[in-house]
Symmetry: C2
Subunit: 170 residues, 2 copies
Protein backbone atom coordinates (compact mmCIF):
# COMPACT_ATOMS: atom_id res chain seq x y z
CA UNK A 1 0.00 0.00 0.00
CA UNK A 2 2.82 2.39 0.72
CA UNK A 3 4.72 1.49 -2.41
CA UNK A 4 6.08 4.58 -4.11
CA UNK A 5 4.65 5.76 -7.42
CA UNK A 6 7.21 7.02 -9.89
CA UNK A 7 6.20 9.57 -12.53
CA UNK A 8 8.20 10.80 -15.49
CA UNK A 9 7.39 14.23 -16.98
CA UNK A 10 5.67 14.13 -20.39
CA UNK A 11 6.40 17.75 -21.23
CA UNK A 12 7.01 21.26 -19.92
CA UNK A 13 4.75 24.23 -19.26
CA UNK A 14 5.84 27.56 -20.70
CA UNK A 15 4.28 30.70 -19.26
CA UNK A 16 4.89 34.33 -18.49
CA UNK A 17 5.21 33.53 -14.79
CA UNK A 18 8.86 33.31 -13.82
CA UNK A 19 8.74 34.22 -10.12
CA UNK A 20 6.89 31.82 -7.79
CA UNK A 21 5.83 34.65 -5.45
CA UNK A 22 4.22 36.55 -8.34
CA UNK A 23 2.51 33.63 -10.05
CA UNK A 24 -1.30 33.74 -9.87
CA UNK A 25 -2.69 31.03 -7.62
CA UNK A 26 -5.50 29.79 -9.90
CA UNK A 27 -6.58 30.10 -13.55
CA UNK A 28 -9.46 32.22 -12.19
CA UNK A 29 -6.86 34.81 -11.28
CA UNK A 30 -4.78 34.33 -14.44
CA UNK A 31 -7.41 35.37 -17.00
CA UNK A 32 -5.73 36.13 -20.30
CA UNK A 33 -2.33 34.79 -19.20
CA UNK A 34 -0.95 32.97 -22.22
CA UNK A 35 1.03 29.77 -21.94
CA UNK A 36 1.98 26.56 -23.70
CA UNK A 37 2.18 22.90 -22.86
CA UNK A 38 5.15 21.58 -24.80
CA UNK A 39 4.75 17.82 -24.93
CA UNK A 40 7.89 15.79 -25.53
CA UNK A 41 8.02 14.39 -29.12
CA UNK A 42 7.75 10.78 -27.96
CA UNK A 43 4.27 11.50 -26.53
CA UNK A 44 2.91 13.64 -29.39
CA UNK A 45 0.79 10.79 -30.78
CA UNK A 46 -1.12 10.73 -27.48
CA UNK A 47 -2.51 14.21 -28.21
CA UNK A 48 -4.71 13.02 -31.12
CA UNK A 49 -8.21 14.61 -30.89
CA UNK A 50 -7.29 16.70 -27.84
CA UNK A 51 -8.09 19.77 -29.98
CA UNK A 52 -11.79 18.83 -29.81
CA UNK A 53 -11.84 20.01 -26.17
CA UNK A 54 -12.22 23.61 -24.99
CA UNK A 55 -10.49 23.08 -21.63
CA UNK A 56 -7.84 20.73 -20.29
CA UNK A 57 -6.85 19.52 -16.84
CA UNK A 58 -3.11 19.89 -16.31
CA UNK A 59 -1.42 17.82 -13.63
CA UNK A 60 2.07 19.05 -12.96
CA UNK A 61 4.89 18.95 -10.47
CA UNK A 62 5.13 21.82 -7.99
CA UNK A 63 8.87 21.63 -8.59
CA UNK A 64 9.66 24.80 -6.62
CA UNK A 65 7.48 23.97 -3.60
CA UNK A 66 8.97 23.86 -0.15
CA UNK A 67 8.84 20.95 2.24
CA UNK A 68 5.37 19.48 2.83
CA UNK A 69 3.38 21.00 5.69
CA UNK A 70 0.15 19.56 7.05
CA UNK A 71 -1.19 22.87 8.37
CA UNK A 72 -0.69 25.92 6.18
CA UNK A 73 -1.97 29.44 5.62
CA UNK A 74 -3.51 29.38 2.15
CA UNK A 75 -2.77 32.16 -0.33
CA UNK A 76 -6.29 33.57 -0.13
CA UNK A 77 -6.57 33.80 3.63
CA UNK A 78 -4.71 34.10 6.94
CA UNK A 79 -6.45 31.24 8.73
CA UNK A 80 -4.30 28.09 8.93
CA UNK A 81 -6.00 25.12 7.24
CA UNK A 82 -5.22 21.48 6.62
CA UNK A 83 -3.14 21.13 3.47
CA UNK A 84 -5.81 18.86 1.89
CA UNK A 85 -8.37 21.66 2.41
CA UNK A 86 -6.19 24.01 0.31
CA UNK A 87 -4.53 24.00 -3.10
CA UNK A 88 -1.19 25.13 -1.64
CA UNK A 89 1.93 23.61 -3.30
CA UNK A 90 3.58 22.38 -0.07
CA UNK A 91 1.61 19.11 -0.14
CA UNK A 92 2.76 15.61 0.79
CA UNK A 93 2.87 14.79 -2.95
CA UNK A 94 3.62 18.03 -4.71
CA UNK A 95 1.23 17.69 -7.65
CA UNK A 96 -0.66 20.72 -8.92
CA UNK A 97 -3.89 20.82 -10.89
CA UNK A 98 -5.18 23.59 -13.15
CA UNK A 99 -8.12 23.71 -15.54
CA UNK A 100 -6.91 25.81 -18.48
CA UNK A 101 -8.36 26.94 -21.78
CA UNK A 102 -7.09 25.25 -24.95
CA UNK A 103 -6.78 27.75 -27.80
CA UNK A 104 -5.27 25.42 -30.39
CA UNK A 105 -2.76 22.66 -30.96
CA UNK A 106 0.41 23.03 -33.02
CA UNK A 107 1.83 19.52 -33.29
CA UNK A 108 3.23 18.63 -29.86
CA UNK A 109 2.50 22.12 -28.49
CA UNK A 110 -0.78 23.13 -26.87
CA UNK A 111 -1.48 26.86 -26.94
CA UNK A 112 -3.26 27.72 -23.69
CA UNK A 113 -4.90 30.60 -21.87
CA UNK A 114 -5.65 31.31 -18.21
CA UNK A 115 -2.34 29.71 -17.26
CA UNK A 116 -1.46 30.09 -13.56
CA UNK A 117 1.57 27.81 -13.73
CA UNK A 118 5.22 28.72 -13.32
CA UNK A 119 7.37 28.70 -16.47
CA UNK A 120 9.41 25.48 -16.75
CA UNK A 121 7.01 23.35 -14.71
CA UNK A 122 7.18 19.61 -15.55
CA UNK A 123 3.87 18.21 -16.84
CA UNK A 124 2.78 14.90 -15.31
CA UNK A 125 -0.50 14.39 -17.18
CA UNK A 126 -2.95 16.12 -19.48
CA UNK A 127 -6.61 15.12 -19.28
CA UNK A 128 -9.58 16.43 -21.21
CA UNK A 129 -11.89 18.54 -19.08
CA UNK A 130 -15.38 17.08 -19.47
CA UNK A 131 -18.09 19.20 -17.78
CA UNK A 132 -20.28 16.11 -17.35
CA UNK A 133 -17.54 14.37 -15.34
CA UNK A 134 -15.79 17.27 -13.69
CA UNK A 135 -18.40 19.88 -12.79
CA UNK A 136 -20.95 18.65 -10.23
CA UNK A 137 -23.87 21.04 -10.42
CA UNK A 138 -24.46 21.44 -6.71
CA UNK A 139 -20.90 22.03 -5.49
CA UNK A 140 -19.99 24.75 -3.04
CA UNK A 141 -16.60 26.32 -2.30
CA UNK A 142 -16.25 25.45 1.39
CA UNK A 143 -14.21 27.94 3.39
CA UNK A 144 -13.19 29.76 0.19
CA UNK A 145 -16.79 31.00 -0.11
CA UNK A 146 -16.24 33.06 3.06
CA UNK A 147 -13.38 35.10 1.54
CA UNK A 148 -14.29 38.60 0.39
CA UNK A 149 -14.16 38.48 -3.45
CA UNK A 150 -12.05 41.64 -3.65
CA UNK A 151 -9.50 40.26 -1.21
CA UNK A 152 -9.47 36.93 -3.05
CA UNK A 153 -8.89 38.67 -6.36
CA UNK A 154 -6.08 40.81 -5.02
CA UNK A 155 -4.34 37.93 -3.34
CA UNK A 156 -5.08 35.47 -6.12
CA UNK A 157 -3.56 37.69 -8.79
CA UNK A 158 -0.64 38.56 -6.55
CA UNK A 159 -0.11 41.71 -8.53
CA UNK A 160 -0.42 44.37 -5.88
CA UNK A 161 1.69 44.22 -2.80
CA UNK A 162 2.34 40.54 -3.15
CA UNK A 163 5.65 40.93 -1.39
CA UNK A 164 4.01 42.64 1.57
CA UNK A 165 1.43 39.88 1.78
CA UNK A 166 4.12 37.23 1.74
CA UNK A 167 6.06 39.15 4.36
CA UNK A 168 3.02 39.30 6.58
CA UNK A 169 2.39 35.59 6.17
CA UNK A 170 5.76 34.68 7.61
CA UNK B 1 13.44 18.33 -16.96
CA UNK B 2 13.04 14.60 -17.27
CA UNK B 3 13.82 13.99 -13.62
CA UNK B 4 11.46 11.47 -12.11
CA UNK B 5 8.84 12.54 -9.58
CA UNK B 6 8.32 10.14 -6.71
CA UNK B 7 4.98 10.00 -4.91
CA UNK B 8 4.09 8.18 -1.73
CA UNK B 9 0.42 7.21 -1.11
CA UNK B 10 -1.31 9.23 1.64
CA UNK B 11 -4.18 6.79 2.06
CA UNK B 12 -6.38 4.17 0.45
CA UNK B 13 -9.75 4.33 -1.31
CA UNK B 14 -12.38 1.84 -0.17
CA UNK B 15 -15.32 1.20 -2.47
CA UNK B 16 -17.80 -1.41 -3.59
CA UNK B 17 -15.91 -1.83 -6.87
CA UNK B 18 -13.68 -4.89 -6.70
CA UNK B 19 -13.41 -5.87 -10.38
CA UNK B 20 -11.66 -3.41 -12.73
CA UNK B 21 -13.83 -4.42 -15.71
CA UNK B 22 -17.02 -3.70 -13.76
CA UNK B 23 -15.94 -0.42 -12.16
CA UNK B 24 -17.84 2.65 -13.43
CA UNK B 25 -15.64 4.90 -15.55
CA UNK B 26 -16.65 8.23 -14.00
CA UNK B 27 -18.49 9.55 -10.91
CA UNK B 28 -21.25 10.58 -13.37
CA UNK B 29 -21.86 6.85 -13.87
CA UNK B 30 -21.35 5.92 -10.23
CA UNK B 31 -24.21 7.92 -8.72
CA UNK B 32 -24.99 6.65 -5.25
CA UNK B 33 -21.90 4.41 -5.08
CA UNK B 34 -20.59 4.75 -1.54
CA UNK B 35 -16.90 4.80 -0.74
CA UNK B 36 -14.31 6.05 1.71
CA UNK B 37 -10.96 7.73 1.56
CA UNK B 38 -8.96 6.31 4.46
CA UNK B 39 -6.10 8.71 5.06
CA UNK B 40 -3.07 7.32 6.86
CA UNK B 41 -2.88 8.55 10.50
CA UNK B 42 0.30 10.54 9.90
CA UNK B 43 -1.59 12.78 7.44
CA UNK B 44 -4.83 13.21 9.42
CA UNK B 45 -3.91 16.71 10.56
CA UNK B 46 -3.85 17.80 6.91
CA UNK B 47 -7.60 17.19 6.66
CA UNK B 48 -8.54 20.11 8.94
CA UNK B 49 -11.49 22.09 7.48
CA UNK B 50 -11.89 19.71 4.53
CA UNK B 51 -15.41 19.04 5.83
CA UNK B 52 -16.40 22.57 4.76
CA UNK B 53 -16.36 21.40 1.12
CA UNK B 54 -19.16 19.56 -0.69
CA UNK B 55 -16.91 17.89 -3.27
CA UNK B 56 -13.30 16.76 -3.40
CA UNK B 57 -10.84 16.04 -6.17
CA UNK B 58 -9.16 12.68 -5.66
CA UNK B 59 -5.87 11.98 -7.38
CA UNK B 60 -4.97 8.32 -7.21
CA UNK B 61 -2.80 5.65 -8.73
CA UNK B 62 -4.35 3.51 -11.47
CA UNK B 63 -2.55 0.64 -9.80
CA UNK B 64 -4.20 -2.06 -11.94
CA UNK B 65 -3.72 -0.29 -15.27
CA UNK B 66 -1.91 -2.02 -18.10
CA UNK B 67 1.13 -0.70 -19.93
CA UNK B 68 0.81 2.86 -21.24
CA UNK B 69 -0.59 3.22 -24.76
CA UNK B 70 -0.57 6.45 -26.73
CA UNK B 71 -3.58 5.56 -28.91
CA UNK B 72 -6.47 3.82 -27.18
CA UNK B 73 -10.16 3.05 -27.60
CA UNK B 74 -11.87 4.91 -24.75
CA UNK B 75 -14.51 3.17 -22.65
CA UNK B 76 -17.32 5.30 -24.06
CA UNK B 77 -16.57 4.81 -27.74
CA UNK B 78 -14.96 2.58 -30.37
CA UNK B 79 -12.93 5.29 -32.09
CA UNK B 80 -9.23 5.20 -31.18
CA UNK B 81 -8.10 8.47 -29.57
CA UNK B 82 -4.89 9.90 -28.21
CA UNK B 83 -4.50 8.88 -24.56
CA UNK B 84 -4.39 12.56 -23.47
CA UNK B 85 -7.79 13.07 -25.15
CA UNK B 86 -9.27 10.34 -22.90
CA UNK B 87 -9.44 9.50 -19.20
CA UNK B 88 -8.32 5.90 -19.81
CA UNK B 89 -6.03 4.42 -17.10
CA UNK B 90 -3.28 3.22 -19.48
CA UNK B 91 -1.57 6.62 -19.46
CA UNK B 92 2.15 7.45 -19.44
CA UNK B 93 1.80 8.40 -15.74
CA UNK B 94 -1.02 6.30 -14.39
CA UNK B 95 -2.75 8.90 -12.24
CA UNK B 96 -6.53 9.02 -12.08
CA UNK B 97 -8.75 11.95 -11.16
CA UNK B 98 -12.32 11.87 -9.84
CA UNK B 99 -14.53 14.60 -8.44
CA UNK B 100 -16.52 12.93 -5.65
CA UNK B 101 -19.10 14.06 -3.14
CA UNK B 102 -18.00 14.42 0.49
CA UNK B 103 -20.73 13.27 2.88
CA UNK B 104 -18.81 13.71 6.13
CA UNK B 105 -15.48 13.23 7.83
CA UNK B 106 -14.83 10.74 10.64
CA UNK B 107 -11.32 11.53 11.85
CA UNK B 108 -8.92 10.31 9.16
CA UNK B 109 -11.76 8.78 7.10
CA UNK B 110 -13.73 10.69 4.46
CA UNK B 111 -17.16 9.25 3.74
CA UNK B 112 -17.80 9.74 0.02
CA UNK B 113 -20.46 9.23 -2.62
CA UNK B 114 -20.36 8.87 -6.43
CA UNK B 115 -17.16 6.86 -6.11
CA UNK B 116 -15.97 5.33 -9.41
CA UNK B 117 -12.66 4.11 -8.02
CA UNK B 118 -11.51 0.54 -7.49
CA UNK B 119 -11.34 -0.73 -3.90
CA UNK B 120 -7.79 -0.62 -2.54
CA UNK B 121 -6.61 2.20 -4.80
CA UNK B 122 -3.69 4.23 -3.38
CA UNK B 123 -4.52 7.93 -2.88
CA UNK B 124 -1.89 10.38 -4.11
CA UNK B 125 -3.61 13.64 -3.21
CA UNK B 126 -6.89 15.10 -2.02
CA UNK B 127 -7.80 18.63 -3.10
CA UNK B 128 -10.88 20.69 -2.33
CA UNK B 129 -13.13 21.09 -5.36
CA UNK B 130 -13.73 24.83 -5.76
CA UNK B 131 -16.31 25.64 -8.48
CA UNK B 132 -14.72 29.04 -9.05
CA UNK B 133 -11.37 27.41 -9.86
CA UNK B 134 -12.44 24.13 -11.38
CA UNK B 135 -15.60 24.71 -13.40
CA UNK B 136 -15.09 27.09 -16.34
CA UNK B 137 -18.54 28.24 -17.38
CA UNK B 138 -18.09 27.92 -21.12
CA UNK B 139 -16.49 24.47 -21.34
CA UNK B 140 -17.59 21.84 -23.83
CA UNK B 141 -17.01 18.09 -23.80
CA UNK B 142 -15.07 17.69 -27.06
CA UNK B 143 -15.55 14.31 -28.75
CA UNK B 144 -17.46 13.00 -25.74
CA UNK B 145 -20.32 15.35 -26.68
CA UNK B 146 -20.84 13.28 -29.84
CA UNK B 147 -21.57 10.06 -27.91
CA UNK B 148 -25.23 9.09 -27.65
CA UNK B 149 -26.18 9.66 -23.97
CA UNK B 150 -27.81 6.21 -23.68
CA UNK B 151 -24.73 4.49 -25.03
CA UNK B 152 -22.49 6.58 -22.75
CA UNK B 153 -24.59 5.67 -19.75
CA UNK B 154 -24.60 1.97 -20.54
CA UNK B 155 -20.88 1.85 -21.17
CA UNK B 156 -20.02 4.23 -18.36
CA UNK B 157 -21.88 2.19 -15.76
CA UNK B 158 -20.52 -1.05 -17.16
CA UNK B 159 -23.43 -2.86 -15.62
CA UNK B 160 -24.97 -4.51 -18.64
CA UNK B 161 -22.92 -6.70 -20.89
CA UNK B 162 -19.68 -5.12 -19.78
CA UNK B 163 -17.81 -8.34 -20.55
CA UNK B 164 -19.18 -8.40 -24.11
CA UNK B 165 -18.14 -4.80 -24.62
CA UNK B 166 -14.65 -5.55 -23.37
CA UNK B 167 -14.51 -8.63 -25.60
CA UNK B 168 -15.50 -6.56 -28.61
CA UNK B 169 -12.89 -3.96 -27.80
CA UNK B 170 -10.08 -6.47 -28.06
Amino acid sequence: MTDTIVCRPVGTIRSEHRIPEETPVQPEFAKGCAGRAEVFPEYEEGLRDIETFSHLILLYSFHKAGDPELIIKPFLDDVPRGIFATRHPSRPNRIGLSVVRLIRREGPVLILEDVDVLDGTPIIDIKPYVPRFDAPGNATGGWTDTIDPRKARQRGRRMYGSREILQKKK
